[in-house]
């Protein structure tokens, strides 16, 4: 058995193009999930809900004004593969920010090959400090006590958006994704007392 699983997110405003791409990608055996993003909400916000390993994005949606710091803008760490989906001419310099480029002239086999070679490289993000910050620990405590995002925001006097960012960073750093898993983490690290939470 192999553990090669790719979670792919596609950000492209043309629905036709998106659907076509989803269809051909969905059949690849190492693809676990394909998620489509629309342009109704800011892309970085939508990306936050998934844990993609590959992001295929039309550079126009990523903002062509950006020449560096694309990952920061999209809020993606270095372990995520970034693929440009291109159907107009782009400055080569700009496309260098991407790990691969898919054009609309690519055949299904071309696309499969490009994704295959990406999926064989496991990038590990080494830039991040994996320790939770004090703030994140505080958020985690209110989280495992069962408070909603809104309640956590009110309690800490921060916006819901900030709460969501904190939650995302907490689960990413700890690599624990279920609420009940986070509860166990908080208990064994003495962040909360067993009696303080309704198990």
């Amino acid at each position: 058995m192999q553990t090669n699983r790719q979670r792919i997110v596609i950000a492209e405003s043309s629905q036709m193009l998106r659907k076509g791409l989803v269809q051909s990608i969905n059949q690849l055996p190492y693809v676990d999930k394909v998620v489509e993003l629309d342009d109704k909400q800011p892309i970085p916000e939508q990306l936050a809900d998934y844990r993609p390993t590959i992001v295929i994005i039309n550079p126009l949606l990523a903002g062509t004004g950006i020449t560096a710091g694309l990952r920061e803008f999209l809020n993606l760490d270095n372990s995520v593969h970034l693929v440009a989906l291109v159907y107009t001419l782009f400055d080569q310099q700009y496309l260098q920010l991407y790990d691969a480029v898919i054009t609309i002239n690519d055949t299904q086999a071309d696309i499969a090959n490009k994704l295959k070679s990406l999926s064989n490289i496991k990038k590990i993000d080494t830039t991040e400090n994996e320790e939770l910050s004090d703030r994140e620990k505080e958020i985690l405590v209110t989280l495992v006590k069962g408070l909603s995002n809104k309640e956590i925001a009110d309690y800490h006097n921060i916006s819901i958006h900030t709460v969501i960012t904190h939650r995302r960073n907490i689960t990413r750093k700890l690599n624990i994704h279920s609420p009940s898993g986070l509860t166990v983490y908080a208990i064994v690290n003495n962040l909360v007392d067993l009696n303080d939470i309704k198990l």
Binding site: M1, N4, P29, S178, S180, G181, V188
Partner: protein, 235 residues
Amino acid sequence: MLARSVALSINADTKLSDLIDYDCHLLLVLNRFNIPLGFGDKTVHEVCTANHVDMDCFISIAQYLTNPDIVDTATFARLNPVSILTYLRNSHDYFLKRRLPDLREKLEDILKNAEENHKVSILKFFNDYSDEVHEHMAYENNTVFPYIEKLLKGKRSDGFSINEFVSNHSDIDEKITDLKHLIVKYVALPGDEYKITNFLFDLFLSEEDLYTHCFIENKALVPIMRKIEKQLNKA
């Protein structure tokens, strides 16, 4: 689990014992197709015939489990639904009656000397997870699979459709992954390290096993159901 540089392409003439040597996880597939051990030098074709197992289905699943990269999952939709259902039902039985109770027993054992609050929270976590898996698989056994069996007899039943299953179908391996990380990274359990390692091996295996189980449901069962629904709608 072991990275292999050479992919094995399985066909009717492959010796079953070579297959097991190549990837020992396939032993579980034998169980699920009710193929007993002691098959000597028989080929896949011979063993499947002797045990009334659908060979296409066996090969597709075995190939996916050993080398997913060389499988075209689009071909899954052509597999025989009855065989897929047998495989999935037997897998459910195995998870619910064997794997989960076994994991629980081993977990209790390695938690014996742990601090009380560690023990309570981790066991609670596992029990909740176990309930979740029971619920997930009971829904498939009692609602989804019977629906498919009805479809196969040409009967449409109102009030349920494949889309409903798809939208309800959740991942069930996430919490096992969490438990794995908790024990490897965050909980220093006192006691027999070999037992803990043993338990972790089981968790890694279960995680993979549950993942591939879901994958087969999503990429084989779902397209098959869609095809049958379409045919019945036309009729």
